[in-house]
């Protein structure tokens, strides 16, 4: 049973407040990804869990025991660092053994066996005699994971373990990590700033900004029901379009009036209380379509294409409407060029409104699918 509980965790450096009160529970066997922009406190949080960083306030519990004051080695954790932290002068095997040798409780035979096991699991048995310099990025990565494995910790902590790899390798290692996690089923906290990693790896994803937890949820829920503008903007590439609108009532419908377009909001009663107020209207580029692709009767409006970016699988249009910019994903082979005027409309099941504090006050989709709110499988 290895759960991790953070209670009101805070970290204050001399003049910087890096983490400002985080409450978070990581379940046994869960793969939790912590994501957020650079400097938001991800590493700091992870390092406090590892015991590498003192805690300013709050408590950390691992498997029910308060470890806040314990040195790292007594927390039964293993950590994989961004740059792998392999000792350059030791072979892969020596790297994996070095830490264990510091603990007298293992016999040499035991150590050898564990290393062999880990090497098998990671398919690096024939690399064991090489020094890191003779290993590729992905291989180093696996040795680093192997080093964590041999200690059979109850918790794995990983800090951007893929960010030093090239794009191809990153995709491949991502799949391997998933597979490995499925085999081991160890509680894992994984830090990254890459949203693709976050979305694909996490059972749940914790979004951090400015030292504060923004939202913890399954990946798809995060995408569909961002709890605030930060999450909405951070998850998704290109980012969600967010334009200022006035919420009005028009013929019984609640509408968002931007000037360039007036968009009826379904499930209006959720939005009814906003009537008469300014709000930020959010819609993802893939939820804006050419009028021709919309069901008949949908509200449309005209916009001017300013930039055309063919991305191969799709065409990204930067359009100007009512003084705001909207990015729109359209069919890749569309005959649309900059300067053209296009007729657009929104997918009215994918609209969001944020109030002036940035909190989401309205999603046009009603209920999140229950299967997306719990850990899957």
């Amino acid at each position: 049973m290895s759960t991790i509980t953070l209670q009101d965790l805070e970290k204050q450096y001399d003049d910087v407040s890096a983490v400002e009160g985080i409450d978070l529970e990581v379940e046994d066997g869960e793969f939790l990804v912590v994501v957020g922009p650079s400097g938001c406190g991800k590493s700091t949080t992870l390092r406090m869990i590892a015991g590498l960083e003192d805690v300013t306030a709050g408590t950390i519990t691992i498997s029910g025991e308060d470890v806040t004051a314990r040195p790292p080695k007594d927390r039964d954790i293993a950590m994989v660092f961004q740059n792998y932290a392999l000792y350059p002068h030791m072979t892969a095997a020596e790297n994996m053994k070095f830490g264990m040798r510091s603990v007298s409780e293992y016999s040499d035979a035991e150590i050898d066996e564990r290393v062999a096991d880990a090497a098998d699991t990671l398919d690096i048995a024939d690399l064991l005699d090489r020094r890191p310099e003779a290993l590729s990025g992905g291989e180093r990565q696996r040795v680093a994971i192997g080093r964590a494995l041999v200690r059979e910790p109850s918790v794995f902590l990983l800090d951007e373990p893929l960010s030093n790899l090239d794009a191809k390798l990153r995709v491949q290692m991502r799949a391997e990590l998933l597979k490995l996690h499925r085999e081991l089923d160890a509680t894992t906290v994984y830090v990254t700033h890459d949203q693709t990693e976050a979305m694909t790896l996490g059972d749940r994803v914790a979004v951090l900004n400015d030292g504060r937890l923004q939202q913890v949820a399954s990946p798809q829920r995060l995408y569909d029901f961002p709890e605030n503008r930060f999450v909405a903007g951070f998850i998704g590439e290109p980012a969600m379009n967010v334009v200022p609108v006035e919420v009005r009532e028009r013929g019984g419908d609640v509408v968002a009036d931007q000037g360039g377009f007036v968009q009826p909001l379904p499930n209006g009663n959720a939005a009814a209380e906003l009537v008469g107020q300014q709000a930020a209207f959010g819609v993802r580029p893939e939820d804006v379509s050419l009028a021709t692709n919309l069901p008949a009767g949908a509200a449309t409006f005209r916009a001017t294409v300013t930039v055309r970016e063919p991305l191969g699988e799709l065409l990204l249009l930067h359009c100007e409407v009512g003084g705001a910019e909207l990015q729109v994903k359209v069919e890749p082979r569309s005959d649309i060029y900059s300067g053209d005027t296009v007729e657009l409309g929104f997918d009215d099941q994918r609209l969001h409104l944020f109030d002036d504090t940035g909190d989401a006050v309205y999603h046009s989709a009603t209920q999140p699918d229950p299967r997306q709110t719990v850990s899957p499988e």
């Binding site: 450096y13 001399d14 590498l52 960083e53 003192d54």
Partner: protein
């Protein structure tokens, strides 16, 4: 800099690890250093067996002694010549080593070896090569130029010869640093200049020199310290301070006063003067380097 916790926290262990270093530093650096100050207030005879308190008398004596003042001036002039000469030659050589595309590393080794040259050996080699009667350089100098070399008797010539040896010996050290500094200049800056067709001299003056300025400052300080402190063997083996006190550098005078004329107190006062000198130089280096810090690669 980092508030990150350190892996070990036993203060006792740390103290134990520091102990040998601290003991040696206290015993052989700080204690004698302070003792120098104390001794400088005494007049002593015969290697310290007889001492009399004279307060600042030794300093007064130094201040009024024509010989010491002369020695001071000679040392400053010497430092200026050595620093300027070393930097000029090493900059030229370094720039060429840095610029050539073929054989750069071989040239580098061939240029830095004087770093290993013992000053005593440097002195003795040039003593011979520049010998007024036997020196082969002297011979060809006199054959091919109107100059004659008689530095056993000519003060200015002796000064120049010792300076040449001092510069020669110090080239290796300077070239090491300058080539490293030049190599630190991003290659794209050079390439950009190539695209623009910037000439060598202009490139050196306008681009490299400002960029290696912090290294130059560092070298000015190191070379100054070198010319004040490490040139004893040169003077001792080549000129013994002569002729006519022309090469009586402070360090040589200090040695002589202490160990030849047995005036330990006076010599200690001279040491104190040298100490002030290093302190000022170090301070200057720190200040000036800070000023240039924003060019840091």
């Amino acid at each position: 800099m980092s508030t990150q916790p350190k892996p070990f926290d036993s203060t006792r262990q740390a103290a134990l690890l520091l102990l040998p270093t601290v003991v040696v530093l206290v015993a052989f650096l700080y204690y004698p250093g302070l003792e120098t100050f104390r001794l400088s207030l005494y007049r002593t005879l015969f290697l310290g067996q007889q001492t009399t308190w004279v307060g600042l008398g030794n300093f007064a004596e130094l201040a009024t002694s024509a010989a010491y003042r002369h020695s001071f001036l000679v040392s400053i002039l010497f430092a200026a010549v050595v620093v300027a000469g070393t930097l000029a030659v090493s900059l030229a050589v370094s720039y060429m080593v840095f610029t050539v595309e073929v054989g750069s590393s071989t040239y580098l080794i061939a240029a830095i070896w004087p770093y290993a040259l013992p000053p005593a050996v440097a002195a003795i080699l040039l003593n011979f090569i520049l010998h007024p009667n036997l020196g082969i350089f002297t011979h060809y100098l006199e054959v091919f130029t109107p100059f004659t070399l008689d530095w056993f008797n000519s003060g200015p010539q002796a000064f120049a010869v010792v300076a040449v040896v001092a510069i020669w010996k110090q080239l290796g050290y300077n070239i090491i640093f300058l080539v490293a500094a030049l190599n630190n200049v991003p290659e794209t800056l050079t390439e950009n200049a190539k695209l623009d067709g910037v000439g060598h001299l202009r490139l050196l003056r306008k681009v490299y020199l400002p960029l290696v300025a912090p290294t130059m400052v560092f070298l000015v300080v190191m070379n100054t310290i070198y010319s004040f402190f490490s040139t004893f063997p040169l003077v001792d083996l080549m000129t013994s301070g002569g002729p006519g006190d022309a090469t009586n550098l402070l360090i040589f005078k200090l040695y002589r006063d202490a160990f030849e004329f047995s005036s330990l107190g006076l010599a200690s006062a001279e040491s104190v003067v040298l100490f002030v000198l290093v302190a000022v130089l170090m301070y200057v280096q720190i200040r000036v380097t800070e000023g240039y810090a924003h060019y840091g690669a």
